[in-house]
């Protein structure tokens, strides 16, 4: 799905979290919103998902104005920073949640739901953990379950908020590869938020660098590395090494 952000701004109380920002995310792309904490990247991601409404500006999904579309109808698979797995449900129940939440007319049969859950657990390479509770999983396993749950409803875009933030380096590397593979297999438009320059440069087709609620530069890995648009981008990318 093509995501078009048109002059989106957001105020919290008196403070401006986002200055008017415009960004075009082509269908099938994998884009990273990169910036330090407080740069407005998570706010922008939540506005795309419909979890937050902008103070001004529009969100266009496949050319149609979706600014007023409620979060349930956006078709966004969202992976939260802390994963937000339902703690009182098993892994299988977590993954099946979005399918069971549908109205009776659109809900798959019980057998079909079970088959889809099994297929998704295979996809994240954790086929045998369906009966466990989130508290019995490692951080990396939780992250993958959160991804499976977000994919279960066959979303039109995948949004991830610091998806690898709380994991150790080796697990992070595995999961990065996993996410890239899933993206390439499904062709799903993917937007992920990160404060880690290496993660953004290593994974995304296009990188949107943000600072203090402003978009500093949008471009490929090459653009950002060799032609930083602002002193901030130059300093922030250099920080990596």
């Amino acid at each position: 799905m093509h995501i078009e952000i048109d002059e989106i701004a957001k105020d919290f109380g008196g403070t401006r979290a986002l200055h008017p920002v415009s960004l075009s995310i082509p269908s099938g792309a994998m884009v990273s919103l990169l910036g330090p904490s407080g740069s407005g990247k998570t706010t922008l991601l939540r506005i795309i998902a419909g979890l937050e409404s902008p103070s001004s500006g529009r969100v266009l999904l496949d050319g149609r104005d979706a600014t007023g579309t409620p979060v349930q109808k956006r078709g966004a698979g969202f992976v939260f920073q802390s994963y937000a797995l339902f703690r009182h449900m098993t892994v299988a129940e977590n993954v099946a949640y979005g399918l069971k939440a549908r109205s009776r007319r659109l809900r798959p049969t019980r057998g079909e739901i079970a088959r889809r859950v099994a297929r998704l657990l295979d996809l994240i390479q954790l086929p045998d953990i369906g009966a466990r509770y989130p508290s019995q999983l490692s951080g990396g396993q939780r992250q993958r379950v959160a991804l499976a749950r977000a994919l279960a409803t066959e979303p039109r875009m995948l949004l991830l908020d610091e998806p690898f933030g709380a994991l150790d380096a080796r697990v992070r590397k595995d999961l990065r590869t996993g996410l890239r593979e899933i993206h390439d297999a499904t062709g799903l438009t993917t937007v992920f938020v990160t404060h880690d320059q290496g993660e953004a440069l290593g994974l995304a087709d296009r990188i949107a660098v943000m600072s203090m609620g402003r978009l500093e530069q949008v471009g490929t890995r090459q653009d950002v590395l060799s032609r930083p648009a602002t002193p901030f981008v130059q300093a922030f990318i250099q920080e990596m090494t």
Partner: protein, 287 residues
């Protein structure tokens, strides 16, 4: 266990045996004197003239009316306060809005005001000479010295229990799971039923049980607003005091024992549910 006599590593973090034993004994003695002895005395006193006499005292029409009234008041007040407390806790724990601090203080008001004062306030508001008295009289509505007054007093006194239990649990859990449910297509009501409510069910149960115990046991506010009309507006606690003042000791203690038994029953119910669902409880608490 013979090979566990020397374990210096374990010693480092635990107290010496005599300290542990002394502390345990002190706790048991305190619990015995403060909690168990008074309860035991009530039951012993109630059964002094035999179980038949106790049952006969409870079968008196006035006694039966008091039991009915107490159960009815609790049956209305507890569900109402559970719903209102749940709504208040949700608003306070998960959203920021103007006047939030005021609302939190208001929830604590019934805890800080003496129940007698609360009862008097209701009489002043709804009584014949009260602010709303003439209007109520003109419309033939009776609140003070009648069932509605008792219910209002009980609602006021037991209001904080559910909300107070839920607020810290809900605040700690945050909104992330609810937001996840919404992004997965759940409606607000579906999210509430499948995520919000199950996540707080133990705190809610505990709050409801405390609320119920207090609703049945409330004395001060109800004593003032009920007018103590025997057989009509006397709840069990009020009836106990009246019987005791009339030197009807056996009847007073029989009623007291029944009230205590109702409280113990709710406590046992809670323990049973915790034991039945121990696995799930362990899985959902640590996270």
């Amino acid at each position: 266990m013979a090979d566990t006599t020397i374990r210096p590593a374990a010693r480092a973090t635990t107290e010496a045996p005599w300290v542990r034993i002394a502390l345990t004994l002190a706790t048991l003695a305190l619990a015995g004197v403060l909690l168990i002895a008074p309860l035991a005395v009530v039951f012993a006193e109630a059964l002094r003239e035999g179980p038949a006499a106790s049952l006969a005292a409870l079968a008196e029409p006035d006694a039966r009316a008091a039991i009915r009234l107490t159960v009815l008041v609790a049956a209305i007040a507890v569900p109402l306060n559970a719903v209102i407390g749940l709504a208040a806790a949700w608003a306070i724990a998960k959203f920021d809005f103007r006047g939030k601090a005021v609302l939190i203080s208001l929830i604590d008001l019934p805890f800080s005001v003496s129940p007698v004062v609360a009862g008097l306030a209701l009489v002043l508001l709804y009584g014949v000479n009260g602010a709303l008295g003439p209007w109520l009289q003109a419309h033939d509505l009776k609140i003070v010295f009648a069932f509605p007054g008792i219910l209002l007093a009980t609602l006021f006194i037991t209001f904080p229990f559910v909300a107070r239990e839920l607020i810290p649990v809900m605040a700690e859990q945050g909104r992330a799971e609810e937001e996840a449910a919404l992004t997965l297509g759940a409606s607000g009501w579906h999210m509430f039923r499948t995520v919000t409510l199950p996540n707080v069910r133990w705190a809610l149960l505990y709050g409801v049980l405390l609320c119920n115990a207090r609703a049945m046991g409330e004395f001060g506010a109800v004593a003032v607003i009920s007018g103590k009309i025997r057989g009509q507006t006397t709840t069990m606690p009020v009836m106990i005091e009246m019987l005791y003042n009339e030197y009807l000791t056996a009847a007073a203690f029989s009623m007291a024992a029944l009230l205590a038994a109702l409280a113990l029953l709710t406590l046992a119910l809670k323990s049973f549910l915790e034991w039945r669902h121990a696995d799930l409880l362990a899985a959902t608490r640590r996270h």
